[in-house]
Amino acid sequence: MRLQQQVIAVHRNWDNWRGKIKYRRILILDGEVRPSAISPLYKVRISFEIGKNPFVKVLSPNLKLYPGKTSLPHVFSDPGSPLCLFWHEFDNTKDLIAETIIKWITWWLFFYEIWAETGEWTGGGTHPDRW
C-alpha cells in the first residue's frame, strides 16, 4: 500500500481529515473530531510510515486524568502518550487508515470522555482492570 493511496482514501471518505506526505515516506493526517453531540472539538494528528504502527496524538484540548489515576487509558508508554487503538486488527503494510484508525479514534475519544469523568473504561479492550 503506497502512502498516496492512504491519502486518497482519507480525502474520499472523510470531510474532517486532511493528509499530506512529508519527505516521501511520512504520512501526516490532521483531523478534527467531535465524538458526541456534547463533546468539544478534538484536534488529532496521525503520523505514519509504511511498516510501522501509526503514531496517534491528541493535540488539543489537553486530555485530563480521572482523579487518582496516573495514566490515560489505552495509550502506549512512549512520550506524548500515543493512543493504542488496536491489538491485531490493523496490518501496517496493507490496511487503509481511512477504514480503521480514523474510526477507532472517534471511539477512543468517546470512551476517554467517560473514563475522565467516571474512572472506568467502558469501551472494551485488553487489560480491563488496568485502566
Binding site: 472523510w14 478534527e32 467531535r34 453531540a37 491489538w87 490493523f90 477507532w104 470512551f111 467502558t122 479492550g125
Partner: protein, 390 residues
C-alpha cells in the same frame, strides 16, 4: 435506521437524566425483596381470622406511582401499603381497628419484633435500607367510590379520610396516553414495547417522562434544601404540582422545563387576584397540601426560589457542553449519581457498537447510528496499551 443516543443533544440529556433516576431508586434486587416481603405480609393478613380476613391490600405513595427516590444519607426508603376492609367505620372505633391490626402484625413469628406503631400506620422496620408503612383502613362507602378510605389517626383521635388509589389513578391518567416518548427512538425494541400496556411495577426503562421528572425534582429538592430541611416542600406537593402542570411533553427535559415555566405563570395568575397559590389534593379537593404557605410565608418564598433555581439549572443544561455540562449534573444530583449514570450510558453505547448498530459520521467524525446518509460502517477493534509503540 436508529440514531445513536449520544449523537443527539436532547436524547443525550434525557438519557443521562433517566439513568440518574435509575441510580436513585430501588435496584432490581431490592425491588424483588420488597415484592417478596409485601407478598408474605399480604398473604399473612389475608389468611388471618377476624377483622382483616379478605382485606384488600395494595401499594400507595411513591412506590405505587413509580417515583421513589433514595433518601440522602442515613435515611431509608419508605414504602407505603394500604390494608382496606369493608366494615362500616361509623360503627367501629378507630382505635379498635388500629390496635387489632397492631396485635395481628405483632403475632407474626417472622416480623412481629420489627413492628413499630406510628400515628397512622404500623411500621415494619427491616434491618436493610427500607421500611414498610402499612395502614389499616375501612372503606368510606359514600359516593360509591371504593377507593375513598377512612384511616385511624391516633394523633387526631379520630378517623380521617384519604384516597391514595384515587390519587394514583389521577397521576396515571396524566401520562397514560403518552406513547410518543422521545428517548424510545434511540433504544432498539422500545418502539414495540411502548405500545403495550405497562406492568404495574414497571422497571425504570419503561417509565414515562412524568415519573422520571418527579423523581428528579424530588432529588433536586433534597440537594437544594440540604441543611435547611425545615424549608423543603414535601414529596406529595412536588408530585402533585409536577403532574398537574404536565401537558404530555415527550421528554424528561421538556417536562421539567415546562413545569418551572407554568408554575411561575400560575403564581402570577393568582397574584393578579391577590390570591395565594395553593396545591390541593386532586381527588379530595378540600385537602390543601400547602396550608403552611399561608401561615408561614417564608416557606412559599423558599419554594419560589427553589423552582427558580431549577429553572436556571434547566436553562444552563440546555446550553452547556462537555465538562460544563458534567459539572452541572454533578452539582445538581450528586457526583456519585452522575458517575454511575454516565458509566451506564457508556456501557449502553458499547453494547450498541458490539451489536454492529453504529457507524461514524463522515463530516464530523461523530459516533452515530449506522444506516443514515453520510455515516460509514463501523469496524470492530480491541483497544490495547501499556507497551511501547516501537
Amino acid at each position: 435506521m436508529q440514531k445513536l443516543v449520544s449523537q443527539d443533544r436532547k436524547a443525550f440529556i434525557d438519557d443521562m437524566l433517566k439513568r440518574i433516576t435509575e441510580s436513585l431508586q430501588l435496584n432490581a434486587t431490592r425491588r424483588k425483596l420488597v415484592e417478596e416481603r409485601y407478598g408474605a405480609v399480604s398473604k399473612f393478613i389475608e389468611q388471618s381470622e377476624g377483622l382483616f380476613h379478605d382485606a384488600r391490600i395494595y401499594a400507595q405513595g411513591s412506590y405505587r406511582l413509580g417515583t421513589t427516590v433514595r433518601p440522602r444519607q442515613g435515611d431509608e426508603f419508605d414504602l407505603d401499603f394500604v390494608v382496606q376492609i369493608d366494615r362500616d367505620w361509623r360503627n367501629v372505633p378507630f382505635n379498635i381497628v388500629y390496635n387489632n391490626f397492631r396485635r395481628l402484625m405483632e403475632s407474626n413469628g417472622n416480623w412481629g419484633n420489627l413492628v413499630e406503631p406510628k400515628s397512622r400506620c404500623i411500621q415494619l422496620n427491616y434491618a436493610d435500607e427500607f421500611h414498610m408503612d402499612i395502614i389499616p383502613t375501612c372503606t368510606e362507602n359514600q359516593f360509591g367510590d371504593k377507593n375513598r378510605i377512612m384511616v385511624p389517626d391516633r394523633a387526631e383521635h379520630n378517623w380521617v379520610i384519604s384516597n391514595p388509589e384515587g390519587y394514583a389513578l389521577w397521576f396515571e391518567k396524566k401520562y397514560i396516553q403518552q406513547k410518543d416518548i422521545y428517548l424510545h427512538n434511540f433504544y432498539p425494541g422500545m418502539e414495540i414495547r411502548a405500545a403495550q400496556e405497562l406492568p404495574k411495577d414497571d422497571p425504570n426503562h419503561l417509565k414515562q417522562p412524568l415519573q422520571h421528572a418527579v423523581q428528579l425534582v424530588k432529588r433536586y429538592r433534597d440537594i437544594y434544601f440540604e441543611n435547611r430541611e425545615n424549608l423543603a416542600p414535601s414529596s406529595i406537593v412536588l408530585t402533585t404540582l409536577v403532574a398537574q402542570l404536565y401537558n404530555g411533553e415527550n421528554s424528561i427535559y421538556d417536562t421539567i422545563n415546562k413545569f418551572a415555566q407554568r408554575f411561575n405563570e400560575s403564581v402570577a395568575f393568582e397574584r393578579q387576584y391577590s390570591r395565594q397559590f395553593h396545591v390541593t389534593n386532586p381527588v379530595l379537593p378540600q385537602e390543601i397540601f400547602t396550608k403552611k404557605w399561608e401561615t408561614d410565608p417564608k416557606l412559599f418564598r423558599a419554594f419560589i426560589e427553589f423552582v427558580n433555581s431549577l429553572s436556571q439549572l434547566w436553562r444552563e443544561l440546555n446550553e452547556a457542553m462537555g465538562n460544563d455540562l458534567f459539572e452541572l449534573l454533578k452539582k445538581s444530583f450528586g457526583t456519585g449519581t452522575f458517575e454511575d449514570a454516565y458509566k451506564k450510558h457508556g456501557e449502553f453505547v458499547a453494547e450498541m457498537r458490539k451489536k454492529e448498530k453504529t457507524g461514524i459520521h463522515r463530516e464530523t467524525g461523530m459516533a452515530a447510528g449506522f444506516g443514515a446518509a453520510g455515516v460509514h460502517r463501523d469496524k470492530q477493534n480491541t483497544f490495547d496499551g501499556g507497551r511501547w509503540l516501537k
